[in-house]
Symmetry: C2
Subunit: 137 residues, 2 copies
DNA sequence: TGACAAAATAGAAAGTGTTTTTATATTTAA
DNA sequence: TTAAATATAAAAACACTTTCTATTTTGTCA
């Protein structure tokens, strides 16, 4: 089963209609580790879909998030970034260029005592500093 | 030395001009653990300064961040939140009500091997789930 | 296949939070 | 007290996101 067939399956399974725009958005997300913003996605696809609108990108992201296929990152305070990799992982953000990198290492963090009244469902470690490229300058 | 005098000192030391608006912003920040947004600050002060503008709030926050007296949090993707507590600490954000709580416990996280080409200057642990109030509902 | 209902699209407008601009006012140092 | 430097309010501009609506596309079923 090839990649396209998988995407077809994915949308069908979720009861979503198949549209070329949706398939392209999922394809783009699956093939990037760049944690793109909505605009990045729009720009990447506008050659193939010259009439594509931002509303479609945002709508599609909304349903993908709702269905749990994409996660929204709040690491960059200027805009939302999207991550199609659902496995537990963490991130590094470069203070200079803003790029976000995956950190795959697992951390054994035990829920601190002070949160015992809370219902903790998740945690994220966000490292920051300079990426290799910005470090050299 | 009282609180006001300390704030006077603080601004003087940084070479910033003393204005009632600035003093009030610093006072508000020093007395809250709510991680307020710019609008929260504005709302908290508009009774005392009915003519206060958003620009003043944003300008003041900008210089305070520049001078290292306040940290900007990127935990809430819908708006920036501000934290005047500079000591190393972490956070919990409630997925329901959006409130941000401090987590004072220290975590011994060693910089993972995969970041050895990076210059890591900081890390933040962000827990998420439900706060005690939202948990009960 | 063709017709229909439901859902998605493009494009524009509106909504939010943030930043910039400008004329005026205040602060500080001389 | 005066002058220069800086901060202010108010409005406009801006960037990102959401909403609206007319039109098109999709999936279903005859
Ligand atoms: Mn990731
Ligand atoms: Mn805090
Ligand atoms: Zn970088
Ligand atoms: Zn809550």
């Amino acid at each position: 089963m090839n990649e396209l067939q998988k995407r077809l399956e994915t949308y069908k399974r979720l009861g979503l209609k198949l549209t070329p725009q949706r398939l392209a958005i999922l394809e783009y997300l699956e093939n990037t580790r760049e944690h793109p913003s909505a605009e990045d996605i729009y720009n990447a696809l506008k050659d193939r879909f010259p009439s594509m609108s931002f509303a479609t990108v945002y709508n599609t992201l909304e349903v993908l998030i709702e269905k749990g296929l994409v996660k929204e990152l709040s690491i960059d305070s200027s805009k939302k970034r999207f991550d199609p990799f659902l496995h537990s992982h963490h991130h590094f953000i470069c203070k200079q260029c803003g790029k976000i990198f995956d950190v795959e290492r697992n951390f054994d963090i035990l829920i601190p005592e002070e949160l015992k009244e809370f219902e903790v469902s998740d945690f994220q470690v966000v490292f920051s500093g300079l990426c290799p490229t910005c470090k050299k300058k």
